[in-house]
């Protein structure tokens, strides 16, 4: 097979530039194979993050010809002829070369109020397949953070990160909201603290999801509807005022320890 030119961004927080590497390629290879070949020969210090090389861990996300992709699942022969550019994810600060600082996501994970189930019966909980399937779709998430990378609310607006959890965490909140065992209510929290309203459902996140999770249709839109229901349904509003709430608001609920 013909050699290929890889145009790889090299640098760190202080700046950097593209460097071209012309390397051999073999039948059936993915972008990560070629990056590994560059590492093993010309540039052993070329930084890239990877683990499973099977599309299961989500470590090797980068922007290939400008689009967020998993390097391990992008076949070279699917890319157009000519040089292939590989750049780090744009939404996160650069550590080095193709590796970014994704700690924003781990900070958001710490702020998720945990599942609050009822006490477990001795022989375990009973749940039904059709009830767990909705959550299972969201739990396919491999945390590659490409949906966060492509989300325009934070891609070009660093200042929004403090108010906005992003699509990865909206599916997490949707999963907990739809979890058959959960007794927390995070609807106010996801609106007030996690910025659900900033999302204007352009579906960019859904398009890049390597697990084909319907982030917008199955998680964000239903979550928005639930938030609306909780806040603008006058009957529910009145009901909450009169009765003591059986469900806590998420900020209260968030401190409830799970067993």
């Amino acid at each position: 097979m013909a050699d290929v030119t890889m145009r790889v961004w090299r640098g760190d927080a202080s700046g950097g530039d593209f460097e071209d590497y012309t390397v051999a390629q073999n039948e059936g290879e993915v972008v990560l194979d070629v990056i590994h070949r560059i590492q093993a020969t010309e540039a052993p210090d070329l930084a890239c993050r990877w683990n499973c090389k099977a599309g299961k861990c989500g470590s090797c996300a980068a922007e290939i010809n400008g689009k967020p992709r998993l390097m391990c699942m992008t076949r070279m022969d699917d890319l157009p002829e000519g040089p292939v550019t590989v750049t780090p994810m744009k939404t996160f600060p650069i550590i080095r070369d193709l590796v970014t600082d994704v700690s924003f996501n781990f900070a958001m994970a710490e702020r998720v109020p945990a599942l609050l189930p009822p006490p477990m019966p001795e022989d375990g909980y009973r749940m039904f397949q059709e009830d767990v399937e909705r959550g299972q779709e969201f739990r396919k998430c491999i945390e590659c953070f490409m949906c966060q990378d492509v989300c325009h609310v934070i891609r070009d607006h660093e200042e929004n990160k403090q108010y906005y959890a992003g699509p990865r965490f909206f599916i997490r909140y949707a999963e907990l909201e739809m979890h058959p065992l959960d007794q927390n209510d995070r609807r106010d929290y996801v609106r007030d603290e996690m910025g659900l309203g900033y999302c204007n459902i352009t579906k960019c996140c859904t398009e890049v999801c390597p697990e084909h999770i319907k982030i917008t249709d199955n998680a964000i839109i239903p979550l928005k509807e639930r938030v609306v229901d909780a806040n603008y349904d006058p009957v529910a509003w009145l009901g909450r005022k009169i009765r003591r709430r059986t469900k806590r608001t998420a900020t209260e609920a968030g401190v409830q320890p799970a067993p």
Binding site: G28, P44, A47, N51, K53, Q129, V132, R139
Partner: protein, 605 residues
């Protein structure tokens, strides 16, 4: 205590590794109110646990009501060819169901039976449908559940931080560890009252492997250097079904769930060859004809299990023999066919990751075409010798759980017994380490000399001029181990490997790395190589000394199991606490099994 010249942290319990075992151990120690630090080479949630596909074995009896811990114990011992630590197999079989159920309290969503219980699937070597699962991504479910629990408890996690070696106090108790941050290359020290190793496996020392870059045997090597014993290091599981094509994904795992859900193996002549490879030990419970095997898939009481579901070592050897006999596929594997046996809808629902993996990486639609598969290095049964109840090693304050520990699986691990191993013994390690800390028997100091030695060694590749590229050494090591200590072994080749490994030791001392310390994969690899070579030495020595074939150790020159060799493990220790030290390999007798457990092994034979 001397002031550290580096970033320094102190914990009651330090956990090295953030896969299933490490996270489960952390939960246990956190629940006891102790301070816990977890150190991981990667980001949180990326550990090799995510690669586990098929499920976690637990005798809950939700699908087969006949199932119970006794049968699970028996299956585990027989699958391990009786080299197991019986007490670990007993505890594991008894405790797995509770460990699976508790995951649902923390948010796991397993597939369900019609009456709403956790669904269980059939797997190789398990007499009954026993694997709790979520499609074919059970490992991801396990790690995400534990990760979310650990995060909600406010645990300190040091991500992308590589531990170089353990540190002792002056009396030889473990006192912590020295590590470096991969993003910056800066060193960091941890003083800890107890340390739990949960660092996973060693598979990256072989060329065709399902393991990620992380599986370099760091925990195995660290434990050995620190004074612990390694056992059963010759017992390496070559998973029968790895992808063989394209070459770049050779070794990538294809879940055993494909066979559990109806997939069969065929050679290039279309023959279901596994019927020709049923060992005497499994004859009574294995189907004799394709018709009987197929009946079993429809109704388990209408026939016996098909031979495709024999334990992994049996299937891997059979595939190897077929390819060697010239009945392999164009790319040197055999065919795994589910497309002609199940509907496309069923396959996509039960095996979604496999469907995508083959579609995207090989351009093969598994609902219509057969997969080409062959054995791939997958798991090491051997590891740190531990006490069954406490996961304690020989070194005071040091515990080990998960793949880095040995004993539960004997000479061969059954599919599904790994995920349950992680949570059963992760929890036990967490409990025992906490007891040790609460009992006040922690270390009385911290040997800074060990820290300085480790730091100097780690930095040496920057000082060397004109030395070797670490990637060249890694590639040569992988090819050498694949060729000489692979799935089928002979005495001559093993001797060759043992000699070669001495050369590798010298080559590692002469590594040069380019660039700085911040996120430098070449340097990171240079610091992994001493572990890879240390564990390869133990594997080779064990393979040389075990002059028989048993489970994940097959000797062409000693093709049968020997009763004598079935009475001991091979235990390795190292002199001088350094990786260049002389390794000693000795026979270590198996524990004596109580009669009531022995009698369980006879049942249903």
């Amino acid at each position: 205590m001397t002031t550290s010249p580096y970033e320094h942290h102190e914990y009651d319990v330090l956990i090295i590794g953030a896969g299933g075992a490490g996270l489960r151990a952390a939960i246990e120690a956190k629940q006891r109110g102790l301070s816990v630090g977890i150190v991981t080479k990667s980001l949180l949630g990326k550990a090799h646990t995510v690669m586990a596909e098929g499920g976690m074995a637990a005798a809950m009896g939700n699908v087969s009501s006949e199932d119970n811990w006794r049968v699970h114990f028996r299956d585990t011992m027989r699958g391990g060819k009786m080299l197991n630590n019986y007490r670990m197999a007993e505890l594991h079989a008894k405790e797995s169901p509770d460990r699976v159920r508790e995951l649902e309290q923390w948010g796991a969503l397993f597939d369900r039976t019609k009456d709403g219980k956790i669904l269980q699937r059939d797997f190789g070597g398990h007499r009954y449908a026993r694997l709790a699962h979520v499609g074919d991504r059970t490992g991801l479910e396990l790690i995400r559940t534990l990760q979310q629990k650990v995060v909600s408890m406010g645990t300190d996690v040091f991500m992308e931080c590589k531990v170089l070696q353990l540190v002792h106090d002056e009396s030889g108790r473990v006192a912590g560890a020295v590590a470096y941050w991969r993003p910056t290359g800066e060193f960091v020290t941890f003083a800890a009252k107890s340390v739990i190793l949960a660092s996973g496996g060693v598979g990256k020392s072989w060329k065709f492997t399902s393991n990620s870059w992380e599986s370099t045997g760091d925990g195995h090597a660290m434990a050995l250097w620190a004074g612990a014993e390694l056992i059963d290091m010759e017992c390496i599981q070559f998973h029968p079904t790895g992808m063989v094509w394209p070459l770049s994904v050779r070794g990538l795992l294809v879940t055993e769930g494909v066979r559990g859900d109806g997939g069969v193996l065929r050679n290039s002549e279309g023959e279901r060859f596994m019927f020709n490879y049923v060992a005497d030990m499994f004859r009574a419970e294995t189907a004799e004809s394709e018709e009987e095997g197929d009946r079993w898939y429809e109704d388990h009481s209408a026939g016996r299990r098909p031979p495709e579901l024999l334990p992994r070592d049996e299937v891997a050897r059979a595939i190897n023999a077929e390819v060697k006999a010239g009945r392999g596929t164009p790319h040197g594997g055999v065919y795994l066919d589910i497309g002609t046996r199940r509907s496309a809808e069923y396959i996509r629902r039960r095996l979604p990751s496999m469907y995508h993996q083959f579609m995207e990486l090989a351009g093969v639609d598994i609902t219509r075409e057969a997969m080409e598969i062959g054995p791939t290095c997958h798991y090491i049964m051997g590891g740190v010798k531990v006490d069954a109840d406490t996961a304690a090693t020989k070194v005071a304050g040091l515990y080990a759980a998960g793949e880095v520990a040995a004993g539960l699986h004997g000479a061969n691990r059954l599919g599904g017994n790994s995920l349950s191993d992680l949570v059963v013994f992760g929890r036990r390690a967490g409990m025992a380490a906490s007891d040790y800390v609460e009992g006040g028997s922690g270390p009385s100091g911290f040997d800074w000399g060990e820290v300085e030695t480790a730091v100097a060694r780690a930095l040496a590749p920057f000082e060397n001029e004109g030395g070797e590229n670490p990637y060249d050494i890694q590639r040569d090591l992988q090819e050498m181990m694949q060729a000489n200590v692979g799935i089928i072994r002979t005495g001559d080749e093993i001797e060759l490997a043992i000699n070669e490994l001495e050369t590798f030791t010298e080559r590692v001392k002469n590594i040069s790395v380019k660039g700085g310390r911040a996120y430098n994969p070449g340097w990171n690899l240079a610091t992994d190589l001493p572990s890879m070579i240390t564990v390869s030495k133990c594997t080779s020595r064990g393979a040389r000394d075990r002059k028989e074939s048993r489970g994940g150790h097959t000797r062409e020159d000693f093709p049968k199991a020997s009763a004598e060799y079935g009475t001991f493990n091979l235990a390795h220790t190292i002199a001088g606490g350094t990786w260049e030290g002389q390794i000693t390999t000795e026979r270590s007798p198996l524990l004596t099994m109580p009669d009531e457990l022995k009698s369980l092994l006879e049942e249903g034979k």
